[in-house]
Each structure stands twice: as C-alpha cells, then as structure tokens.
C-alpha cells in the first residue's frame, strides 16, 4: 500500500520542540515536502537562523549551517557562490530578518543572490519570550511594549516583502499564511515557485509566511489562528508581491 501522508524524507525523525499550536512546524513540513517533490534533498544546503527555528539543523535532513543572528543571507550568499549547483535556502524569523539582519537581507536581494529565503513572521521575538519585533502591530502588547506598540515611541511595523520587492535583484516574493488548509496549500505552491526560481537560476526568491506564537501572544492555538486572519492579514496582505519573468 502506498503511504500518502508520511513524513517527508527531507525531515529527520527528531520531534519538533515547538510549543503547542505554533505553526513553525507546519512551515518546516511544507519546505521539506517541496524538497522531496523537487528531488533536491541531496543538493540542498539550509541556513538556520537565530530564533525559535534555530534548531532547524536538527529537523531538515540536508546539510545545515547555523548562522549568527540576522546573518543567514550573508552565509547563504557565500555557500551559493561556492556551490552554484546546490540549492541554498535560509529559514529566518522576523526579529532575525527584519531587525538585526536587515542589512544582510536587503543586500542579498539587491545583489540578486540566487537563494531562497523562508521568512517566518509571527510579529514577536518568540525565542526570547515575546519582546517587540519590527513586525509587531500597532497596539500589540509585548514584553518591551507593555502598553502596546506606540508608534510615537517605537515606530511602525515594517512590511518587509513590499520593501524588498522594490529591489531590482529580487525575482520572486510572496506573502503567505498557514492558518487554514487553503492557505497552507497556497503557501506550499509559493515555496515551490521560490525554489524553482532558484533552480532556473533566476535570482533572489523569498516567501514570507505569517505564523502564530500562541505562547507569547497569550492566546490558545485556535484563537491564535483567528488572530492571524483578523489582525495580521489586514496589515500584511497575502499573495504574490513580485513575480519577474514567467515564474
């Protein structure tokens, strides 16, 4: 009998350490499924960032390099230059990519590095227990904005995908979400396209995925999914943001 819903080959057998209801796990699975479907496991090299997904090196059954906080795109750049035939992806949170790593991601995109970035936006610093992230919404309470984010003091949330899309080096950018089965399907398609762009050597690709952090949002898993729909999606519109050539 054929197993239809097995564990993707590109995932190890290690059990995820993520909190109940955290969608990091779903996103890992989608990336692994695409690696399987494109049959690129043997030539994939992943770059783990610093955040809750830091242990991605335990989960993806491919060569993995753990990078300093925010620097994954720089590490990925060099790996791709050394092994142009490999498939190189980074997996980064919003603190990692949109705060400390802003320079690296902007310049990797501007150079049109032929890499794929999986950008997980949960609007907070999960790993360090819920501080404000650059993507934290106005009014959202975090441990470093206890009264809710006040733009007068802490500025406005950044729409990273839109910002990066202005760069000529960026080929494919899409914002997705995994809070419903339909959205999961769409996210998977986008991840596939992003990897295909890299395989066709067409340049920089990035998929931003809205994700939950029930533990730091102080919500249960179901309400967290609802919050993605009700609060995040209105500010972070879903869909393809940039598509150069016939992706």
């Amino acid at each position: 009998m054929e197993i239809v819903f097995g564990r993707p080959k590109a995932l190890t057998k290690v059990e995820f350490h993520y909190c109940p209801g955290c969608t990091h796990g779903i996103i890992h699975r989608l990336v692994a499924e695409i690696i399987d479907e494109l049959a690129i496991q043997g030539k994939s090299i992943g770059i783990a960032s610093v955040g809750c997904s830091v242990m991605a090196y335990d989960y993806f059954a491919v060569d993995m390099i753990q990078a300093a906080h925010g620097r994954a795109p720089a590490v990925a750049t060099a790996v791709k230059r050394v092994h142009p035939e490999s498939v190189v992806f980074s997996y980064q949170g919003d603190g990692d990519l949109a705060a400390i790593g802003t320079a690296e991601i902007v310049h990797a995109a501007a150079r049109g590095e032929n890499i794929t970035v999986i950008f997980v936006n949960n609007g907070t610093y999960g790993m360090t227990s819920g501080q404000m992230a650059p993507t934290t919404l106005i009014g959202q309470k975090c441990t470093t904005c206890p009264e809710g984010r006040d733009p007068g003091r802490a500025g406005y949330p950044i729409r990273m995908s839109e910002l990066l899309a202005t760069l000529d080096g960026a080929t494919y950018i899409s914002r997705e979400s995994v809070h419903t089965p339909a959205r999961i399907n769409s996210a998977k398609k986008a991840i596939r396209k992003a990897f295909e762009v890299q395989l066709r050597k067409e340049g920089f690709s990035l998929v931003e995925i809205l994700s939950t952090c029930p533990i730091n949002w102080g919500l249960n898993p179901v309400d967290s999914l609802k919050r993605v729909e009700d609060e995040m999606v209105p500010f972070y519109p879903l869909g393809e943001i940039k598509k150069c050539r016939e992706v």
Partner: protein
C-alpha cells in the same frame, strides 16, 4: 537556621511562585534569602526547578547542590534530585502523582496529596499553596504571618477571595501534613 531547598516539578505547577513566597516571608522575618530559578526554553512544559536559601547567616553560594529540604511535585523531579539530598534531609513529595517510594532510607520522606486536596478545595491551582503549608509546618522556616503577608503582597491587587483561598490552602497543607504524612 539554614534552609537550603530545592523545589522541582513541571512548568506550570507554581514552583517559582511558591519558592518566591518562602523567600519573601523569610525576608520579612529578617532572614537572609536567595532564590535561583532554572531558566530557558526548556521551561515550556518541561521540568522547572528552583534553589532557595533562607538563613540566619550571610548567604555564600545561592546555588543549592546539596539541599537539606527537597520538594518534588512530580516523578522526574524525584528521580533527578533524590540523590542530592543530605543524609537525614527532609523530602516532601506530591503523592497525588508520585506513587513511587524514594529509593533512600537515610532521609525523612513525607507525602502529601496536594492535587487531591486542591481539588477538594475547589481549585487545582492551589496545590502549590498546600505544599507550602506542609513545608512551613514541618520546618518552621518562616512564620505563618509573614507567609500570609507575602501572599497578600504577591497577589497584589487581586480579589480578596483569591487571597483567602490561598491562605486556606496553606492552612490545609499545614494541617494535612500531620494527618496524612505518616512515613511512607
């Protein structure tokens, strides 16, 4: 008096706040106190533990590697820390969920069914307060009055009923430890 205590259990069993009440009360009693939590992501659902010292003397090491009192709220904690207890040390176990006996016979083990008692009181979350009552009754490490004052202080603006529920739980623990904690 020199209480060197390890309290251990699941994250969410109220270990840290129980330990905090002891040191708070100790401070009110004029003792020297220290409180060292375990920290980090393993706390999410994993084992959490806390080292505390209440002493008449100045505290040297706040790290407790050889406790004279060990309070375990779950089985993994018993397994992890039993060895560290000093000979003739006091062991307090949550016997609602630990059915195993301690392996050593050179220590003083007490069991108390804190979960069951807490459910009887109508709130499982008071289990840690029941354990606190048992601990204070057995060691007299801090005064009851200071514990009550600490409960009021820590619960801050909380409702009166919550304060009195916690004090009731404390008293229930103090009472039940004699009644229920014949040597196992």
């Amino acid at each position: 008096m020199d209480q060197r205590v390890v309290i251990s259990g699941f994250g969410g069993q109220g270990i840290m706040s129980m330990a905090q009440l002891i040191v708070y009360a100790g401070m009110m009693d004029g003792k020297n106190v220290s409180w060292v939590p375990s920290y980090g992501p393993e706390m999410r659902g994993g084992t959490a533990y806390c080292n505390l010292v209440v002493s008449d003397m100045k505290i040297g090491s706040p790290v407790v590697t050889k406790p004279n009192t060990l309070i375990v709220m779950n089985l993994p904690s018993l397994i992890k820390f039993e060895k560290s207890l000093v000979p003739n040390g006091l062991l307090l176990m949550n016997s609602s969920i630990i059915s195993q006996r301690p392996a050593r016979n050179d220590i003083r083990p007490y069991g108390i069914k804190i979960n069951d008692l807490a459910v009887e009181l109508g709130n499982l979350r008071t289990a840690n307060m029941i354990m606190l009552g048992a601990y204070v009754e057995l060691t007299k490490a801090v005064s009851d009055d200071s514990v009550f004052a600490s409960i009021k202080k820590v619960l801050g603006g909380a409702k009166k009923e919550l304060v009195s529920l916690n004090i009731d739980a404390f008293k229930l623990g103090a009472k039940s430890v004699h009644a229920m904690c014949a040597k196992i």
